[in-house]
Amino acid sequence: MALDQRTIQNLSWLARLKLPVEREGKILNDLQSILDWVEQLKEVNIEGVEPLISVTEGIAPMREDKVTEGDQQADLMANAPESVQGFYVVPKVVE
């Protein structure tokens, strides 16, 4: 798979990472070589092999339907860049 400049720009937008234009070339090359390396895996014959989604086998353990936590507004806000009266405060997200 060949990457181009537009894909890099789109990826940085999707990841919300501000990428200076002068670095786009280097990132493109790095990412391309990672993809090329992964590409080699296609040589392996995987016929009849189920995709491995988790290295842990088994089925999901369940929790009981009980309220066991919460009520820790102050602890949450201690890590918030900005908060008012227990709300997280972020830059306006609608125009």
């Binding site: 988790s54 009981e64 919460g70 507004q73 008012v84 227990g86 972020v90």
Partner: protein, 483 residues
């Protein structure tokens, strides 16, 4: 068939609904924080819900059970193997940066809902039901430059129920939604409250000339929050599309917003950049595997569903299909009706519930749970009419006293001395008196002016203070007039 008349051709609608139902559970789907609506901001939040690094989700067994229950209620296939995927997008009220959902292996597969409209009964296909987590709430009006975030709702379990593009009129879509709400409410898997947002609906609409097969480009209208709005949004969106086609235009596949104030749909801003959710299996969560025994156990304990209840009301209680669907649309109304109808004439009870009781509750904006007249007492009132203790007319007055005092009807009848007079002798005396007081009218009736008879009966009832048994009074009067 519902169509939109165009200049050159008639157009039919193709409608699909995606309905999000908040799951009724104590705790959230992947954390032990409370899933109950309300609470002070950010007090129903665990570190998992707030997206702290290193926190691992663990599935709430109740949410799985609720999905299976709902799936069975939708006559759907339950998938014994399901698993979770991440839907990646950035939004301030989604702290993880992804929503845990089920794209590839949903917990419930195809099913259907039976929907009755003026055009008859049809099965509307359900494509799937999958389990996912709700996002938090963004509040935009507390500051001109900032958005405030409350994560109490973040991580509450959601069932997304996707219909097939099977509906063809606003009425049909409205009924599908009503029926779906009745089902989840009957099952106790979602409270179905569209005002509070515990049930939300996205509407997919496209149009095509009648006779054309295949689908044209559809639009998705988001978060339409009442049955009435869903029906209206479909109507205006379909008309908008027809107008564009007829003027030679094309429809863009896009997400739109319904504006109930202006009665229109418009494109959502800032969504030009096509969504790219980069779904992938969530490595934090193992698959959910269910056994036949588990599913059968839930099936055995399912409560009676609205469709079955409706059929029973019609066949066993002799109600009309209309009355039966009104009374079964809401679980609490059905329960009230059944309690009231126990040992009474069910049809008469239905009339009282849908007539006087609903009129009063609607006027006062009360839910049936807050009715001042208990179901037992309403049943007893119908009983008193049935055994001729009071007339239907007096019953209206007794009902009024019941609303005011909450007392049982027998006590009110006793206290107010409203017992109906079935003493033939006493009624005869009143009839004689009334006839003597109105000789001209009696003469006219005898001369053939039958219409006046009703008036005379009215006078008799009045003279008896409404307590004479009307049938008896009529009978005696007829005898005297004939003789």
């Amino acid at each position: 068939m519902y169509t939109i008349k165009g200049k050159t051709t008639d157009w039919e609608l193709v409608i699909g609904l995606e309905v999000h139902c908040e799951i009724l559970s104590n705790a959230k789907v992947f954390s032990g924080a409370s899933a109950v609506f309300g609470g002070e901001q950010n007090t129903h939040v665990s570190f998992i819900d707030a997206g702290f690094p290193g926190m691992l989700p663990k599935v709430n067994e109740k949410c799985i059970e609720q999905c299976v229950k709902t799936g069975l209620g939708l006559n759907a296939r339950i998938n014994k193997y399901s698993r979770f995927d991440r839907k990646n997008y950035f939004y301030a009220d989604l702290p993880q940066g992804y929503q845990i959902s089920q794209l590839y292996h949903p917990i419930v597969g195809e099913g259907f809902i039976e929907v009755t409209t003026s055009e008859g009964t049809r099965k509307i296909g359900v494509e799937r039901l999958h389990l996912e987590q709700d996002a938090g709430k963004s509040i935009h009006d507390m500051s001109p430059t900032k958005t405030f975030i409350d994560l109490n709702r973040a991580g509450v379990g959601l069932m997304e129920i996707v219909s097939k593009p099977d509906m063809h009129s606003p009425e049909e879509a409205g009924e599908y939604l009503r029926q779906l709400r009745a089902i989840v409410r009957a099952l106790g898997t979602c409270d179905g409250n569209m005002d509070e947002g515990s049930m939300r609906c996205d509407v997919n609409v496209s149009v095509r000339p009648v006779g054309e097969t295949g689908f044209r480009t559809r639009t998705e209208t988001k978060n339409v929050n009442s049955v009435r709005f869903v029906m209206h949004a479909i109507e205006v969106e379909a008309n908008r599309q027809v107008e564009i086609y007829e003027n030679g235009g094309t429809i863009k596949q896009e997400t739109r917003l319904y504006d109930s104030d202006n009665g229109e749909t418009r494109p959502m801003r800032g969504k030009e950049n096509a969504n790219d959710y980069r779904y992938f299996p969530d490595p934090d969560l193992l698959p959910v595997v269910l056994t036949d025994e588990y599913i059968e156990n839930i099936r055995k304990n399912l409560p009676e569903l609205p469709e079955a209840k409706k059929a029973r009301y019609i066949s066993e209680l002799g109600l009309t299909p209309y009355d039966a669907s009104v009374l079964t649309a809401d679980r609490e109304i059905a329960a009230y009706f059944e309690t009231a109808a126990k040992g009474q004439d069910a049809k008469k009870v239905a009339n009282w519930v849908m007539g006087d009781l609903f009129a009063y509750l609607n006027k006062e904006c009360l839910p049936i749970a807050k009715s001042p007249v208990s179901a037992e007492n309403l049943g007893a009132l119908v009983g008193l009419i049935g055994n001729n203790t009071i007339s239907g007319k007096i019953a209206k007055d007794v009902f009024q006293f019941m609303i005011e005092t909450g007392k049982d009807p027998a006590t009110i009848v006793e206290e107010k001395g409203l017992k109906q007079n079935t003493d033939t002798g006493a009624i005869e005396k009143i009839v004689d008196e009334v006839m003597a007081a109105n000789p001209e009218q009696v003469a006219e009736i005898k001369a053939g002016k039958d219409k006046l008879k009703g008036w005379l009966v009215g006078q008799i009832m009045k003279a008896s203070h409404g307590k004479a048994n009307p049938a008896l009074a009529n009978q005696i009067l007829n005898k005297k007039l004939g003789g």
